[in-house]
Amino acid sequence: MRNLLNFLAKYNNLIIFLVLEGIAFYLLSTGNSYHNSLIVKGLRGLTEGMERRVSNANSYFHLREISQSVARENASLRTSVERSKSAENQLFFSVTDTVHSQQYTYSTAEVVNNTVNRQKNFFTINKGRLQGMSVDMAVASGDCVAGVIVGSSANFSIVMSLLNLDFRLSARLKSNGYFGSLSWDGADIRHAILSEIPQHVSFGIGDTIETTGYSALFPEGIMIGTVSGFEKSGGDFYRIEVELATDFKKLHFVNVIGNLRKEEQLELEKQFQ
């Protein structure tokens, strides 16, 4: 305390000077718009660099929301592409024509729970019946097959992953169109097995495997993976090892694809079975 008082006594001139100058500068900056604007400009220049850095860091924290919104936009774009695609299929249509209608709907969802280490793997997405999800809708990660919805609650859906012994999907070689049945053998999460490709078919390592659209779940031409190896297995068929395009270990945002004409197709097919 005594030191403080000594200090004040020693420097009282300087302190009074600084206080008075402070008041004067306050008057200067508030009373004159010219000085005020220059001071503000100067301070802004000082803080600008700092603020840029802060906003960079901030935008990094918002990446999650940004990627969500991009995914949403993507889904809506796909829906509109699908709309124009099916318009090309018909030569003539009127707006009220029931023949002209959209076949597939796309919406986006986030994976909230995921397993890959079991023989029957499922994952959970954060959309359910209230968001228009229903059983047998296809789930794709980006452009690649991920699974099929097997159950929905109000706000969540369970998806049977491709990495599930029960998962069956009609798949074909993109190069020549021969189709077979894709399943997982429970061994390796990077690989699945495509069977029922006849032995007279020629193909090579690296050929693309895609969906056929026969199952009425996935649209035609969704990427599954590439051929990484094959062997002859009993009878006349190949057993093709497919390297999956989807990395199930880092599944995050997925597209859910609904087929609006699935019921109609299945119903019709049922009549002739």
């Binding site: 500068f25 200067l28 009373g31």
Partner: protein, 168 residues
């Protein structure tokens, strides 16, 4: 003591009357505006405590700001002048020091001393004032030109007033 305060008050009023009514209307080619009110700070007695000097400077500057409509500009320049005055008095002190009880007047210490003392204080004041007015360093040299020119004129008028005061 009371007498001295009264005299200072009278000087204050007189200087401001001169400044506002006469010198504020003198503008040589838009460059030069003599500020003689700073003479009040120059003529305060030697023994004045420096806190009082600072506060009187503040009041002087504030009054000038009120008249010229430039809040803070004259105040900060004048406070700076008041702060710097004791140091200038110290470096410009005559060989045998200052006599106690006297003010810094030309009558006692001579023309030369008063000229140096007044020039230094006025220069500091004008330097602060004009650069605060410009408030940027873009036209540094033209501002400096104004500072020097205005200092010359202010000092000339202050000397003139000091002569009149002396002759009284």
């Amino acid at each position: 003591m009371i007498n001295r305060i009264l005299r200072s008050g009278l000087l204050f009023i007189l200087l401001f009357l001169l400044q506002v009514l006469l010198f504020n209307n003198i503008q040589f080619s838009g460059y030069v505006n003599p500020y003689v009110y700073i003479m009040f700070i120059l003529l305060l007695p030697f023994e004045i405590p420096s806190w009082l000097l600072l506060i009187l400077s503040f009041v002087t500057g504030l009054t000038m700001d009120l008249f010229s409509g430039t809040p803070g500009m004259h105040t900060s320049a004048t406070v700076l002048a008041g702060f710097i005055r004791p140091y200038i008095l110290r470096i410009s002190s005559p060989r045998d020091g200052y006599e106690t009880g006297s003010g810094p007047s030309m009558m006692v210490y001579g023309f030369r001393w008063f000229l140096i003392y007044a020039s230094m204080v006025v220069f500091v004041h004008h330097l602060a004032l004009f650069y605060l007015e410009a408030f940027r360093l873009v036209d540094f040299f033209s501002t400096m030109f104004r500072v020097i020119l205005s200092t010359l004129f202010s000092v000339a008028f202050i000397l003139l007033l000091e002569y009149i005061r002396k002759g009284k």
